[in-house]
């Protein structure tokens, strides 16, 4: 969460609520759940809730095996480390007020039928149990939520001249990639690409998926690979255009007729893609730039290097 808060300083708010899994006197569950809650609140009374939160969270392995009595001693020691008023902290730690508070938070969580901890509520919705609560998943959903604000609620008007020649310059951090578009073969794809380019959709977008020997993919401002412009258009497949060479510009999709804003350019022939992906142009300049893009494969789920950014896409009609 720390890392997410740093990454989204303006767009993310994080609220901590206690759900100490205390159990009952007959069947106690986490023996130090109540005391740890009280410790954070006691620190909070001195304005240092988050400091104690971090101590408890990051040093959990140090204290989780202690007896309750030893844990109390440990907490008081930690309070000293973070410069709390120790006398005050010790008094508050086991005060009736905070003891009752911990019990009430346990009861509250039970009343809401929370199904365990941590339990996340994302913009009012319970985080689904089948999505991991890891950094990448939360990062992706935040980015997709932010992308909602940029999505279109209408399809772009058909504005291109299908008999004209269109050249697009994809200016990247690594240099320019120049492509010629095929307005006659794939008018929907070309019209959408030009529409998005003119509206700045691609500015600052990462080449989020770059697999050497295969293709480089971009066009999703969320950077997750799951984002689109808010509309989808049909495949436009022509038997005359195939993935028989490097430098083919085509739409990425999530199945037939789901084209949005993500596109890719091939590094090599890819005949397995024939018939399933709309080809709407080809590279005429900048293969060296394309080849120099940072490789990254989001499917590997590892810590990925930052991708290279598109600075802007400009269109020239000839």
């Amino acid at each position: 969460m720390e890392r997410l808060l740093e990454e989204f300083p303006n767009d993310l708010r994080f609220v901590y609520r206690h759900y100490p899994l205390i159990g009952t006197p007959e069947e106690p569950f986490h023996d130090k759940a109540a005391l740890s809650t009280q410790a954070a609140e006691a620190a909070g009374k001195q304005g240092m809730f988050w400091e104690m939160h971090d101590v408890l969270f990051y040093q959990q392995s140090e204290w989780t095996g202690l007896s309750v009595v030893d844990f109390e001693t440990w907490l008081i020691g930690q309070a000293g480390e973070i410069d709390l008023d120790i006398e005050q902290f010790t008094e508050d730690l086991t005060s009736p007020e905070l003891t009752d508070f911990a019990q009430s938070q346990w009861a509250n969580g039970n009343a809401m039928s929370l199904n365990g901890t941590p339990f996340l509520v994302f913009n009012g919705n319970v985080w689904p149990s089948n999505v991991p609560m890891d950094y990448f998943s939360i990062w992706a959903v935040i980015n997709l939520t932010l992308l909602e604000d940029r999505q279109y609620f209408e399809c772009p008007e058909m504005e291109i001249d299908t008999t004209a020649q269109y050249i697009a310059t994809i200016e990247t951090e690594k240099g320019d990639i120049v492509v010629e578009l095929y307005p006659d073969v794939a008018p929907l794809a070309v019209n959408s690409f030009i529409f998005l380019a003119k509206n700045g959709w691609f500015d600052g977008v990462t080449f989020h998926r770059v697999i050497s020997g295969f293709m480089a993919q971009a066009g999703d401002p969320s950077g997750t690979g799951f984002g689109g412009p808010g509309y989808a258009f049909r495949n436009e497949i022509s038997p005359d255009y195939t993935f028989s060479d490097a430098g083919v510009l085509a739409m990425a999709n999530a199945g037939a007729d789901s084209n949005g804003s993500q596109f890719f350019i091939t590094y090599a022939p890819a005949p397995n893609l024939d018939g399933s992906y709309t080809i709407f142009g080809h590279l005429i300049e900048g293969m060296d730039v394309l080849e120099s893009l940072t490789t990254r494969n989001p499917a590997e789920n590892a810590d990925l290097p930052l991708g290279d950014l598109i600075i802007s896409v400009t269109i020239e009609q000839r």
Binding site: L5, P9, D11, R13, F14, V15, Y16, R17, H18, Y19, P20, L21, D31, A33, S36, A40, G44, F49, H53, F57, Q60, G109, M112, T117, P118, F119, V121, N123, G124, N125, W127, P128, N130, V131, P132, V141, L144, T145, L146, E148, Q151, Y152, C155, M158, L188, S192, I211, G225, F226, G227, G228, Y231, A232, F233, A252, A254, S258, G260, Q262, A299
Partner: protein
């Protein structure tokens, strides 16, 4: 807006699950696949015959939103990040 985010989370779930499934068959012929998580209508009639295009983003609908079972955030709660943030995550947790 709540509804919209939920649908994204659920669809992300589908895609993530899908990813796991697809890893079983390692692909030298991997595809430029994952794109939109938004619900793409498969029905042909969803596409305008003129434009070959359909809107998949969901407009926030006017009218009452369902009442959240979670307490609204009060000023004296422990929170980090700006109050007007676009995304708010509430974590119910136990330190132990």
């Amino acid at each position: 807006m709540r509804k919209l985010t939920l649908s994204i989370i659920l669809l992300l779930a589908v895609v993530l699950v899908g990813c796991v499934g697809s890893q079983e068959t390692p692909t030298p012929t991997s595809r430029p696949a994952p794109t939109t998580v938004l619900d793409i209508p498969s029905a042909a009639e969803a596409f305008s015959p003129d434009s070959g295009c359909t809107v998949v983003a969901q407009q926030p609908t006017p009218g009452p939103t369902p009442i959240s079972p979670f307490m609204p955030i009060s000023v004296d709660e422990w929170s980090r990040g700006p109050e007007d943030a676009r995304v708010t995550i509430i974590e119910y947790s136990d330190f132990q």
